[in-house]
């Protein structure tokens, strides 16, 4: 789609994966994540296979590994939690570098780390190859409740407007000699948030009036694009199908 849909998670490229319809990618990503999550944590070979699949999609989508890695740091807080598990866990223990670690805790940490990373990478690949607008349209075509897609549509439109409002208010505060140090900042900041809320509320009111004036009756018109072609569904199905194959193969052998 056109320029200006930029969000920091989207990578504007042209690739096989970028050209797939959004709903196809959403379903593929979801199924892949489910397969990853239900895989028993000790099937290490399966996780290696999933990682290989992710790398394959990454190459197909022409997403640089470094770009992906940088954005994957969002999972760090969760991984930090996992680091504590081997120390805190109960049961059988092993000694490693002079530390006594719980086997159960190690497995638990690995479980969080492996499944979390794979899930985050899959979601990042989806975001990198799909604009926000297409994601919402995809959810809509998957019959996601209209309340959610409408809210997301408004958010997409008005987040920037609100951010601009907030920026202007901040500059106006600074212009009147406001000294933004942490403790002094709190009160004016809180008042600013309050007035931003009021502004957003009033704008909501005006937007609604403008919508009603154009015949709005509670339902946004659906974008009329046809359903995604079967070939796209089949192409995208290779990811969850391959991951399910890996899961079965490792569990059965």
């Amino acid at each position: 789609m056109g320029a200006g849909h930029a969000h920091p998670l989207h990578l504007d490229r042209d690739s096989l994966v970028h050209r797939l319809a959004a709903e196809v990618k959403i379903v593929a990503m979801l199924l892949f994540t489910i397969v990853v999550v239900v895989t028993p944590r000790t099937e290490f070979r399966a996780f290696a296979g999933y990682a290989a699949l992710i790398v394959a999609v990454m190459v197909l989508a022409r997403v640089p590994a470094g770009w992906l890695a940088k954005r994957a740091t969002i999972e760090l807080p969760f991984v930090l939690l996992a680091v504590a598990l081997p120390f805190a866990g109960h049961g059988e223990r092993v000694d490693w570098l002079g530390m006594s670690l719980s086997v159960d805790g190690l497995h638990g940490a690995w479980n969080i780390f492996a499944k979390g990373t794979l899930g985050v990478l899959a979601s990042l690949l989806l975001a990198a190859t799909t604009t926000m607008r297409d994601l919402i349209l995809g959810l809509d075509r998957l019959h996601c409740p209209a309340v959610f897609t409408q809210i997301a549509t408004f958010m997409l439109r008005y987040l920037d407007v609100l951010a601009d409002d907030a920026r202007r208010m901040r500059i106006a505060r600074l212009a009147r000699g406001y000294d933004p140090r942490f403790l002094w900042q709190v009160k004016a900041f809180a008042v600013g948030v309050g007035s931003l809320f009021l502004r957003a509320y009033e704008r909501g009111e005006r937007v609604y009036l403008a919508m009603v004036s154009r015949g709005y009756t509670g339902r946004l018109p659906r974008a009329d694009a046809g359903p995604a072609p079967a070939a796209q569904w089949i192409a995208a199905a290779t990811l969850p199908a391959a991951s399910a194959g890996i899961a079965l193969a490792t569990v059965l052998t």
């Binding site: 200006g4 920037d160 154009r214 015949g215």
Partner: protein, 254 residues
């Protein structure tokens, strides 16, 4: 021929008891461009919101091209809202969809227009305001003047009987202001323009009415009305410094 807009004896008080309209009578013929002038708090916005049935319930009647506005009749209101196209003052309130084309399609889609005809409506409306090249852009990334033009297009796509503009020239730089004037002049549609911008009224609207204290206080050719200093002063209207309606008219019509 039926008038585009006929308002008769319109009264309205807000629920808190403040009276906004005290008997407004106004007739706008088809194809006419009329400026609605008046100080802040004169009831201009209240009147505008009556024209498509968003506000109502007081005494008096409104007919849009022969169709009575009745806020209790949902089916009739849909047609009224097609006929009365309101362009609100802040284009960010009007443009809420993620892309320009989707926003312009919103009104006609609510009227049941679909498919190729919907696309044709969007193209036609965007072309009319000179914004066809920006159809897939995000409204937020357009300049203010461009957003206002798109806001006009969102309403034009509904093929309105009367275009109602709330402060169309506010916050525009002089070039955008002139471009919008050229677009408005080129549109074959009845226009009711709410404005504080008296030179703009003189440029675009042969006729002006002054709304003050919830009543129409004056109704005359714009040039004549702006030349009456006492009248303007009585209704808190002021010409910009150095502006002379007579000289401006001479410039417009040599």
């Amino acid at each position: 021929m039926t008038a585009s807009l006929q308002v008769a004896g319109l009264h309205f008080a807000y629920p808190d008891g403040s009276v906004a309209l005290r008997g407004v009578d106004l007739t706008v013929a088809a194809g006419e461009r009329v400026a609605l002038l008046g100080p802040n708090g004169a009831g201009k916005t209240t009147l505008v919101l009556h024209l498509n049935g968003i506000l109502g319930g007081g005494a008096g009647t409104i007919d849009v091209a022969g169709l009575r506005v009745d806020p209790t009749d949902r089916r009739g209101l849909a047609e009224i809202r097609r006929r009365v196209g309101i362009v609100f003052q802040d284009p960010d309130d009007q443009l809420f969809m993620p892309t320009v084309a989707e926003d312009v399609a919103f009104g006609p889609a609510n009227l049941g227009v679909r498919g190729a005809e919907l696309q044709a409506r969007v193209d036609e409306a965007l072309a009319a305001v000179g914004m066809a090249a920006h159809r897939d852009q995000v409204p937020h990334h357009l300049s203010f003047g461009q957003r206002r033009r798109v806001a006009v297009a969102t309403v034009l796509a509904m093929h309105p009987e009367i275009l109602v503009l709330d402060e169309p020239s506010s916050n525009l730089d002089p070039a955008s202001r002139r471009e919008l004037a050229e677009i408005l002049e080129s549109l074959p549609v009845t226009v009711l323009m709410v404005t504080h911008d008296l030179p703009y009224a003189l440029q675009l609207c042969p006729r002006s009415v002054i709304l003050d204290g919830g009543r129409i206080a004056a109704d005359a050719p714009t040039g004549q009305l702006l030349a009456d200093d006492d009248l303007l002063r009585a209704h808190r209207l002021e010409l910009p410094f150095g502006f002379s309606p007579a000289a401006a008219r001479a410039g417009v019509e040599p």
